[in-house]
Symmetry: C2
Subunit: 468 residues, 2 copies
């Protein structure tokens, strides 16, 4: 949400070339607030003009809070400034930006960056998408184990302006030289919080103060593991290590919050059969959204065509009891609904690691009992419904003495379809998971479609049982 | 996930009454790890025996990480110990626990707590569920504006052991006396981070160092606002104030992460037509889950019964073109799928505040265009399908020369139903939101049900157009 109040004021200051006013605006407010105010109604050139009044560190902070699309536009417009800004940006944010820039823009910006930064960027650039490495930043605070508490605080003072957080400090050994002569990452020995450093006696050694039982992440783990770790341990940051416990970087709480929000959105979208869509609802590219929705609709449409084949198979029955057709949509919907519920619960439980694929038997037993209990409830409703509310036009077409047959056929079909839908809904995500795929692919429309196909078979079998 | 490795070791130490070993186990590991190891296979009595070996502060930290159900069991078993523990627990966690305890247990535990703590608990107890107040804690670190940086750090050293976080420190004025003689909450003047305090010259005044442009939460705001604030500003904590900017407490990043995870679960469940279920999938009470799923299934079942009425209405058409019935499930499913997608996107965009109810016209226009583009794609698929794959048994029943009529009737029905489903799916959540209700109530099965009822009308109208 842009701050409509600031917009005219900023425009006026720009028109009057009021540098002092713009600097005051940039430096006195929280960078997120400044970014919010600049989010709409300004050209990239105007944005650079506003930013350039502030000191370079503030510029970088504000820039990081701007929407990604706007960052890209700005970078394309002013590569020299961008090169400067890059050196002051968070190490993770600048890599995200460079990934978004067109190749030749990224290259020309990179040429303006000094070698240390260029190396750091190149390292972070190479981690696979959705791995912990792609989420981490390398600007962590660190200490040698031999420092005293007082020395440690002095060292942190020197490091603070450039570090993402100094509240968790990582204790490392000296870098070892690899066989090929390059330096290996320094090994992580422990972690100490700034709180503990402040509470400690001045001469206590970091070595004796640090926590050595450390929860770490590996750079090649999936990002989902991060959310679980932070949820359990309430961390502000967590260290990322390589195979030899060498410290590669840290993941911070704010990135985890963004990750959890983004994953929740993706899961909701997948559950509804939408390919994950980047960007806000009204801003996302029309044709990207079209494709992400259309491909699923088309896939489901083709899958649902099996209902035609199945119904054609029961064609002859269908013609003898056409009046029963009015119950088909009702009966089928029960399977879709029960299946959606089961699939959603199981997929979420898998994501939160409450269950694992190997728990399938426990899940199966529970879901079978649950489905039976749900089916019993719906069966009761169905009996009441068919008994009291069957339309006159259906009743007159029933063969004499067949009223209870109707009642039983519909009720048993409803119960059977409910059972079948719930069990499919619970088991398919587990099956997919045990194949190593993402269980969230089992979207509820997909479950509903499968259950429709099976539902028709169940429906006609009970109809045949009681009428043919 | 329990740590199966620790279990036998702990059991052995309990059997041997190895106090030193148990103390070592409790105090050397992270409290979350200890809690994890104790999560299964131990009675409340055994848990107390393990905990009581550690110092009281560690006991409290471990206890806070235990699952809520286990905390309740333990509190019921040992009220005197619980009273002691309560004084060392986080202020928000202990209130959550007391809310879960049966009334008489809570009372008898509360009687063992001193007056200051009792007052604090009573205050937090009274905030409405789902408000910011219910999420906050009162153990924040604070400073007077007149302190120097060096004095501030000394004061924080004294406060640190009892505070949830000392990384954000709140600067407040002296408490004012209300007309009735009671003390009003101290007014929030600014905030300063421990990082800034450490970087500042020793004699600089907190007043000059603090940030006065503060993003605050109000105690009576909905919790959803918290997630948005933290996502935007990357806070570790945020202050909660009353109408007079009096500081009531803080909300910390770890509680926000839990909140976002919990809300994501609830939204996923609501979207699938499941009442929010507390607790892990396999642990949740069977009949609670049954009720939370069954009530929605029953509601949808009753709603879906309208399809019977609608189909009965088209009874006479139905009998003349029974062979077209095989296309009904296919055509209806399109509306449900398109509607689910639209509803999910709109509900999520509302939750993330990307759109507001008053944007309905923009959403309507976009969704109409999108639905038209999606319908066009599906229409094409449908023509291909009907042209090449119509079952022989349907073809032989077509009146001569009616093949293209079939093609058009099905294709137009598919397109019309897609359009209708998507527009309902997008507009209903907005409508519900503008009434002040939760748009997530528009679950996708609900949208699918409505779209089924309308879909049948659309289907038969196109059939009538081309066949009757």
């Amino acid at each position: 949400m842009p701050h409509p109040l600031f917009t005219p004021e900023i425009k006026l200051m720009l028109a009057e070339v009021n540098s002092a006013g713009l600097r005051e605006f940039c430096e006195s407010l929280h960078p997120a607030t400044v970014a919010e105010a600049l989010e709409e109604d300004f050209t990239p050139e105007q944005l650079w003009e506003v930013l350039s009044q502030a000191n370079i560190r503030t510029q970088a902070s504000i820039f990081e809070y701007l929407p990604p699309a706007m960052q890209v536009e700005m970078a394309e417009k002013a590569r020299p400034q961008m090169g400067q800004l890059l050196t002051k940006m968070s190490h993770d944010d600048r890599v995200d930006l460079l990934k978004r820039l067109p190749g030749r823009v990224a290259e020309s910006v990179m040429r303006l960056v000094d070698e240390a930064d260029r190396k750091d960027i190149a390292t972070l650039f190479n981690y696979g998408e959705n791995t912990v490495g792609a989420l981490m930043t390398t600007d962590y605070a660190w200490l040698p184990a031999t420092a005293t508490a007082a020395e440690a605080i002095d060292q942190l003072r020197a490091q603070a302006p450039d570090k993402e957080t100094i509240y968790y400090v990582y204790v490392v050994d000296d870098a070892a030289r690899r066989v090929d002569g390059s330096l290996a990452p320094r090994r992580l020995l422990g972690v100490i919080t700034l709180r503990d450093l402040i509470l400690a006696p001045r001469h206590a050694l970091v070595r004796d103060l640090m926590e050595t039982d450390i929860a770490t992440l590996r750079y090649d783990q999936e990002q989902q593991a991060v959310a679980q770790l932070f949820a359990r341990y309430d961390f502000i940051a967590a260290p990322v290590v390589d195979d030899n416990f060498g410290l590669l970087g840290i993941v911070t709480h704010d990135d985890v919050l963004d990750l959890v929000q983004r994953e929740a959105t993706e899961n909701l979208q997948r559950q509804a059969g939408v390919g994950p869509i980047e960007g806000a609802y009204l801003d996302a590219n029309f044709w990207t959204v079209w494709w992400n929705r259309g491909k699923w609709l088309a896939f489901l449409f083709v899958l649902q065509m099996f209902t035609i084949n199945v119904m054609t198979h029961f064609e002859s029955d269908l013609e003898r009891v056409t009046f029963l057709m009015v119950f088909v949509p009702l009966c089928l919907s029960v399977g879709g609904n029960a299946g959606s519920q089961a699939a959603t619960l199981v997929i979420r439980a898998l994501a939160l690691e409450e269950i694992r694929a190997r728990d399938w038997l426990r899940v199966f037993r529970r879901e079978l009992l649950m489905a039976a209990a749900l089916a019993a409830g719906l069966g009761l409703l169905s009996i009441v419904r068919t008994y009291f509310f069957t339309p006159e036009s259906v009743l007159v077409k029933l063969p004499p003495g067949f009223f209870w047959n109707l009642n039983w056929a519909i009720t048993l079909a409803v119960m059977g379809i409910c059972l079948c839908g719930a069990v499919i809904g619970a088991m398919l995500p587990l099956g997919i998971k045990s194949l190593g795929w993402d269980p969230a692919l089992m979207s509820t429309p997909f479950i509903a479609t499968l259950s429709d196909v099976l539902g028709i078979v169940i429906f006609f079998n009970f109809v045949a049982l009681f009428f043919l």
